[in-house]
């Protein structure tokens, strides 16, 4: 059983860190459901 099975996930990525789509790919492989994903630019 994957560590995020049955979990709904909200993602806020960082342009100069790890962007939202990259985190989303990881979440999906861990069994999580992405309900919101966004990448923010803090600069």
């Amino acid at each position: 059983m994957a560590i995020l099975d049955g979990k709904k996930v909200i993602i806020i990525g960082d342009r100069d860190g790890v962007p939202g789509p990259a985190i989303a790919e990881c979440v999906k492989t861990a069994g999580g459901e992405v309900v919101f994903s966004s990448t923010e630019c803090f600069v």
């Binding site: 860190g17 939202g20 630019c41 600069v43």
Partner: protein
């Protein structure tokens, strides 16, 4: 033959009143939470002009100190004073807000900027005595209007007020009754961008020693858009700024790519010159009023001054190879493509490792990297971390992964191949380009042999794509004016003249 970088300029306009009235963090707060503690405290956190000038990162930006010197300054920087700080630097200046408003008025071609008569009378002498202000610009200063007229325009006609120390001294009028693209808000934003771009162009001409008439093309790479309801981003900031800066032989166009805009524009400029389309191209950008005080809430909360109180501008002059100036090597271009993906290793791979690998270079073969050069004094208190350092860690990690660097050498990578950030958070302004002025000097002095400029852009902010973007290029020492294996016009003329002379001599000998 590669194009060269003749030089660069970097300018700041200290605009604390625009922080209050035009920065989006503040204008948004005024709408959603007009009684907030932040708005009440804001003005007491604004820096004086002297404090802004004495600020280490600002002195580095205009060229009065090298980034290596900043790296020696104890962090944080906001409570330190740069000894010997000055308004003017070798790359540009820090213009006070009152003089800047006069510059804005001289950049206005449609009578949308109105200044109070008394304010103009009190400020004009200081403005026109600035050596960078040309006679033509000085002659454009208008006498001004009665304050009552400005009050009427602000209170009844939707004009954006212009303030000094909380006092209304002018306004920017709307340029159309119903077209939101020509509203006072948009006109204000665009006029400020244009004026800082003009200032950058003036200093670039001075710094490089070229004639203003030598510039044949200008590319504006800021993040604003000008046009009316039928062509919202029609442009053309570039030519508009060139007109005021007196670049009579220039045409131009605007290039956009969010924060990556300057890097895209510099590659385009280098290609235009290398192709022979234009001999000399200026890449310029003005500042962004919206971003003033962008992280102000965190700064105020932590008892810091509002550090995002300057509009910034820069200009880089690209010209034909002179055999001396550093070159832009168009054989080493990094690009984040549609198919690259967003994983950090893919991003850095496409921008740094891949272009180097294509020409057989390792990541450690580049002496200095200039990615996002945001001043950490601004970003760290706001929770965004040290952006340049984050980029260097990622580049170092990729270098280890590719076998270019020992894992034990990772901590030293940033110090050796990196720079401490000093640029204001004005979007496109800190993106790669702040180091170009120093890079040109460092390469000429033999301190470094090359540098990679990396620009990144957050395209997703425009809601047209979820994609990120970025491009990179390498600046290197001049390889010497190469023999282009062709024959120049002068040489052809010389050959014909010699042939005719020889022919004439044979005729004379025959007689």
């Amino acid at each position: 033959m590669n194009s060269v970088i003749k030089g660069a300029s970097y300018v700041l306009a200290h605009t604390p009143q625009m922080v209050v009235y035009n920065g989006t963090t503040q204008t948004t707060e005024r709408v959603v939470n007009p009684e907030s503690e932040y708005l009440k405290e804001l003005e007491s956190h604004l820096r004086s002009y002297e404090e802004c000038v004495n600020y280490w990162p600002n002195q580095v930006y205009i060229g009065n100190a090298h980034p290596d010197e900043l790296a020696e300054v104890e962090f944080p920087y906001y409570d330190k004073v740069k000894e010997g700080a000055e308004r003017f630097g070798k790359y540009g200046e820090i213009m006070p807000e009152n003089e800047f408003l006069l510059l804005v008025q001289t950049c206005d071609m449609f009578e949308v900027v109105k200044l109070d008569k008394e304010f103009v009378a009190a400020t004009k002498e200081a403005f026109v005595s600035n050596p960078i202000i040309t006679e033509a610009i000085a002659a454009r200063v208008e006498e001004g209007v009665e304050l009552s007229e400005i009050e009427h325009l602000v209170n009844e006609e939707h004009a954006e007020g212009l303030y000094i120390a909380g006092k209304l001294v002018g306004c920017v009028k709307r340029a159309h009754d119903i077209d939101v693209n020509l509203s006072a808000h948009v006109m204000h934003e665009n006029m400020m961008s244009k004026a800082t771009s003009v200032l950058a162009l003036l200093y670039a001409v001075r710094n490089t020693g070229i004639d203003a008439g030598d510039i044949e093309y200008v590319i504006d790479c800021a993040e604003e858009a000008c046009g009316d309801m039928n062509q919202r981003g029609g442009g053309n900031f570039a030519k508009a700024a060139a007109e005021v800066a007196g670049l009579m032989n220039a045409t131009g166009s605007d290039s956009r790519g969010f924060c990556a805009g300057p890097s895209h524009a510099l590659i385009e400029a280098a290609a235009l010159v290398k192709s022979g389309a234009y001999k000399c191209v200026a890449v310029t950008a003005g500042g962004c009023t919206a971003k003033l005080g962008m992280n102000g809430k965190d700064h105020v909360k932590k008892g810091l001054p509002i550090l995002e109180d300057c509009l910034a501008g820069f200009c880089v002059i690209i010209a034909e190879n002179d055999g001396v100036s550093p070159e832009i090597n168009l054989d080493i271009l990094g690009r984040h493509t549609v198919g690259t993906g967003s994983a950090p290793q893919n991003v850095i791979g496409s921008l740094v490792a891949d272009p180097l690998a294509r020409v057989g270079l390792k990541i450690t073969d580049i002496d200095k990297y200039s990615p996002e050069m945001q001043n950490p004094d601004i970003t760290k208190p706001a929770g965004a971390g040290d952006v340049p350092l984050a980029n260097y860690k990622m580049i170092a990690a990729l270098a280890v992964k590719k076998g270019d660097l020992e894992k034990k050498d990772m901590p030293g990578f940033a110090a050796k191949h990196g720079l401490t950030g000093w640029a204001p958070t004005q979007g496109h302004i800190p993106s790669g380009v702040p180091y170009i002025g120093f890079a040109v000097e460092d390469i000429k002095a033999g301190k470094i042999k090359n540098a990679m400029i990396v620009g990144k852009g957050s395209l997703f902010l425009g809601r047209m794509t979820n994609l990120f973007d970025g491009v990179s290029f390498v600046i290197q020492a001049n390889t010497g004016a190469e023999d282009n294996s062709g024959v120049s016009e002068e040489e052809v003329k010389g050959l014909i003249a010699k042939a005719m002379k020889d022919f004439a001599e044979t005729l004379m000998a025959a007689e």
